[in-house]
């Protein structure tokens, strides 16, 4: 099939024919999917390997990387190919035969690309990043990679605190990638033409807004281990480094790759809105993806027509941090049903807020195909605690919606709660069980014993760039007691309870809040076998414990310590547009139980309009969700 000669002339196809029959789900490694793009290698002078450091099934469900893949491949002289983390059996087989990590499209080793771009939506992927570099025969430490090696770039939600990976990644790209990735591409093209050194290229990149080159900064610490100051070493290095945004959402992706193997979200996706104005205080996405920008209804409708024709997908997901908050959601769903209902297109709204669900919307969704389950995330079960986290919702409203949902043919309701919120007591936890039982009771009244309630209870991870960034992770004994209480009280027919292990939550907290010194522990944990840390069946708590010990790091320092309001955080030099002063004010408001409105109704001066004044200039007044304010 493949006629093009390869640089290293590795017989990848032959090797794969020997090892693929021995591994699970081999079609994850063969590529060739509908809409995948194999460009002429020789005709391109900038070549990106786009890496999602988790399994194919998860990576193929990620819209961000799909957008960049499409965007880069539409540029002349640029190609982008996909790489996902081989599952443990495949890794073992590859290492046994000495097959380096290769891209799905041309099956070339990563070392042949100019840029290796990692998407990092969550922190549990850090060891996979190291592992994939190693599997690709690239040095894991940035300092050990010279001009012979590709540049290693990373972006995505987890990189709003890039510090733990500072030693492994050459440059971070912060914020929305659609424009900046082309600027990075142009800089690499220019550097290749001029045969620049790696140092010169990195300096060139450091001048681009949103690009953070960690080696150009030095960190000074206080005696107690907290950070004194982060200083740029060169004039090119900006401080702070402000994330990038696109002022208006670019045209949506209409030719996504269609996987053969079943993926986590095996469906078409269209982003209907970016950003969220609700201001839930635990939610990092709600803070770092501001401002709110809606895509026009007509653009969405045309795009869905194109996506379905281009892919044949049977389901479309209307993606947003809170899809019910899209101002014309009912019109949109009604129109989609009218256009595609006869052809059995299912419509899913992955994140619906309870108060955004109207009877009209439910009627539309009822008409739109498979009614598998309905998900709500109250996050807390008492009015007091909902005030603390700024997610006010009345139980009666929830129960009214629940009744409507069950009566319209849905049998399963999923409820997401969190424990470990600041000031939470056992009473607040008991209320979770009570509310769940009331939901089941409503379900039984409507559809009898078929009614199912699945409850997921996670533990609050106090994330950087949120009003809760000053909050310590809850105490292990409390969390275990609260989980035990829920296990005790949420059993029986029609109930299913999921929870996270405290050790996994603790690791996530440390990784997301870490500073540069944490890199040594990540490196060591990987050497000790840690990878796929987000997979409970792969998580190696002992490897991590030993790694922290050998690196001389105290987990409690990172995760369990109350913080002074003026402490310098490792991520303070990363500017999301939302100011630390605003986050501090909101944190204090939280402690007083004060709630805030959706900021589309009233501006609380988070800082986004000041930070992105230039981007906003010249746009129509309603282009962003922000209400008119005096700056």
């Amino acid at each position: 099939m493949r006629t093009k000669p390869r640089l290293h002339d590795l017989n990848v196809d032959g090797i794969l024919d020997r090892i693929l029959p021995t591994v699970s789900k081999p079609a994850r490694y063969t590529g060739g999917e509908w809409n995948s793009v194999l460009k002429d290698w020789g005709a391109c002078d900038v070549r990106w390997a786009l890496v999602f450091p988790d399994t194919y099934e998860i990576g193929m469900s990620n819209l961000g990387l799909a957008i960049l893949y499409d965007l880069l491949n539409r540029q002349d002289g640029v190609l982008a190919e996909r790489v996902y983390a081989p599952w443990v059996d495949m890794e073992q087989a590859m290492r046994a035969v000495g097959l380096p990590l290769f891209s799905l499209e041309s099956r070339r080793p990563l070392a042949e690309f100019d840029l290796v771009g990692f998407s990092l939506p969550y922190e549990q992927l850090y060891t996979n990043l190291l592992n994939m570099l190693d599997l690709a025969c690239l040095p894991v430490l940035a300092a050990e990679r010279d001009e012979r090696y590709p540049l290693v770039i990373a972006g995505g939600g987890a990189t709003y605190n890039p510090e733990p990976l500072a030693g492994f990644v050459d440059a971070f790209v912060l914020g929305e990638g659609e424009e900046v990735i082309l600027e990075v591409t142009a800089a690499v093209r220019e550097a290749k033409r001029q045969n620049s050194t790696r140092e010169a290229l990195l300096r060139r990149l450091a001048r681009i807004q949103g690009v953070y080159v960690p080696r150009f900064y030095e960190v000074a610490y206080h005696g107690d281990g907290t950070i004194a100051k982060v200083r740029p070493k060169f004039p090119e290095a900006q401080i702070p480094v402000r994330k990038r945004i696109v002022a208006i959402l670019p045209p949506p992706l209409t030719r996504p790759v269609v996987p053969y193997v079943d993926t986590v979200h095996n469906r078409a996706t269209i982003e209907i809105q970016r950003g969220c104005g609700r201001g839930c205080r635990f939610c990092q996405a709600g803070m770092v993806y501001r401002p709110v920008r809606e895509r026009p209804v007509d653009e969405i409708l045309d795009a869905v027509d194109a996506i379905i024709a281009n892919t044949g997908f049977e389901e479309i997901a209307l993606l947003s941090l809170s899809s019910g908050d899209y101002s014309q959601i009912e019109t949109l769903v009604r129109e989609l049903v009218a256009r595609h209902g006869e052809r059995h297109l299912s419509i899913s709204l992955p994140s619906l807020r309870i108060e955004s669900v109207s009877v009209g919307l439910m009627e539309q969704l009822q008409a739109a195909g498979r009614r598998s389950s309905f998900t709500f995330a109250p996050e807390a079960a008492t009015e007091r605690l909902r005030g603390i986290i700024n997610k006010p919702i009345a139980d009666e409203d929830l129960l009214a919606v629940v009744e409507e949902v069950y009566s319209r043919g849905w049998k399963t309701i999923k409820l997401y709660f969190m424990i470990g919120h600041p000031t939470q007591t056992l009473d607040d936890v008991a209320a979770i069980a009570e509310l769940t039982m009331r939901v089941r009771r409503v379900g039984r009244q409507v559809i009898g014993r078929k009614a199912q309630v699945n409850v997921s209870v996670s533990t609050l991870v106090p994330k950087p760039h949120t009003p809760f960034q000053w909050v310590p992770l809850a105490d292990e004994a409390d969390i275990r007691a609260h989980q035990e209480y829920l296990k005790e009280n949420l059993r029986g027919p029609g109930l299913k309870l999921n929870w996270n292990s405290y050790q996994e939550t603790l690791l996530e907290t440390v990784l997301c809040r870490g500073d540069r010194r944490l890199g040594a522990a990540i490196h060591r944990a990987w050497q000790l076998g840690a990878r796929f840390d987000g997979w409970s069946d792969q998580f190696k708590v002992e490897a991590w414990r030993q790694a922290f010990c050998e690196a001389g790091l105290d987990i409690g320092f990172y995760a369990r310590r109350p913080r002074a309001l003026d402490e310098v955080f490792p991520w303070d030099h990363i500017d999301t547009g939302v100011t630390k002063a605003y986050l501090a004010r909101d944190y204090q408001a939280s402690l007083r139980g004060e709630t805030r409105l959706d900021c589309r109704e009233r501006c609380y001066a988070c800082g986004i309009l000041t930070a992105f004044r230039d981007e906003r200039a010249g746009l129509p007044a309603n282009a962003w969700g922000c209400p008119p304010v005096e700056l």
């Binding site: 029959p21 081999p26 509908w34 053969y260 079943d262 892919t311 997908f313 059995h344 009614r371 043919g409």
Partner: protein, 223 residues
């Protein structure tokens, strides 16, 4: 039928599943066809019920790693189309590795392909320093054996079965240098189906096998 979705036509499609798709599982192939039909704009009939499914049936699952030269499926449409037009609409919608060889009309009320399946032919390419004669002796012994008890995993549990009655014929021929071609006809009916890799394993040729293709399917109505 709801939505006026009474099937009006049943089409029998003969297709090839090539090298590029040989690691795709049966379920993945079914999903791929569903999407091919939607891309081609064919009005496929849907089943009734709470979770309506598009109506098409693939005659027989291919083992993962085996290519198919002449596979078959039936699809039910709610419109009447000329088979040649369907062929030309399908072609631009097919991923690499999937090829449509023939589209023809089938009787709407005829029994399902699966229930009509009787046997399948396989062609295996063997790289071995052994002579054809040496392999033939083992083939002969296999065919003369009264029983060939083997173990296989079914829904996680190991069970024993007899491979011998599932093997209808095995022939070895000399191929290119260092290569032998082994063709076999195996039972493939609702009562039981033989796997080509099991036969090759029984002949001690597992490691020497380079490629396996299912070359044709045999149905009751072919007789």
């Amino acid at each position: 039928m709801i939505n006026g979705q009474t099937p009006r036509q049943r089409l029998r499609i003969t297709f090839a599943k090539g090298e590029a798709l040989k690691y795709i599982s049966h379920l993945d192939l079914a999903r791929t066809w569903e999407r091919v039909f939607r891309r081609a704009g064919l009005s496929v009939a849907y089943s009734q019920g709470f979770n309506p499914r598009p109506r098409f049936q693939i005659a027989a699952a291919l083992p993962v790693g085996v290519t198919g030269g002449a596979e078959q499926l039936d699809v039910w449409l709610i419109e009447l189309l000329v088979p040649e037009d369907v062929l030309s609409r399908l072609r631009p919608s097919l991923p690499s590795g999937l090829e449509v060889l023939d589209v023809r009309e089938a009787d709407l009320r005829a029994a399902s392909l699966q229930s009509q399946m009787r046997a399948a032919d396989y062609r295996a390419v063997i790289y071995s320093p052994e002579s054809v004669e040496a392999i033939r002796i083992r083939v002969q012994a296999l065919l003369e054996a009264p029983a060939l008890p083997r173990r296989r995993q079914h829904k996680g549990a190991w069970q024993t079965y007899d491979l011998r009655p599932l093997v209808q014929s095995v022939v070895v021929e000399r191929g290119q240098v260092g290569e032998h071609i082994l063709t076999m006809r195996l039972q493939a009916s609702p009562e039981g189906a033989g796997r080509p890799d099991a036969v090759l394993d029984a002949l001690g040729l597992s490691l020497a096998t380079q490629a396996i293709e299912r070359t044709s399917l045999h149905f009751e109505f072919d007789k």
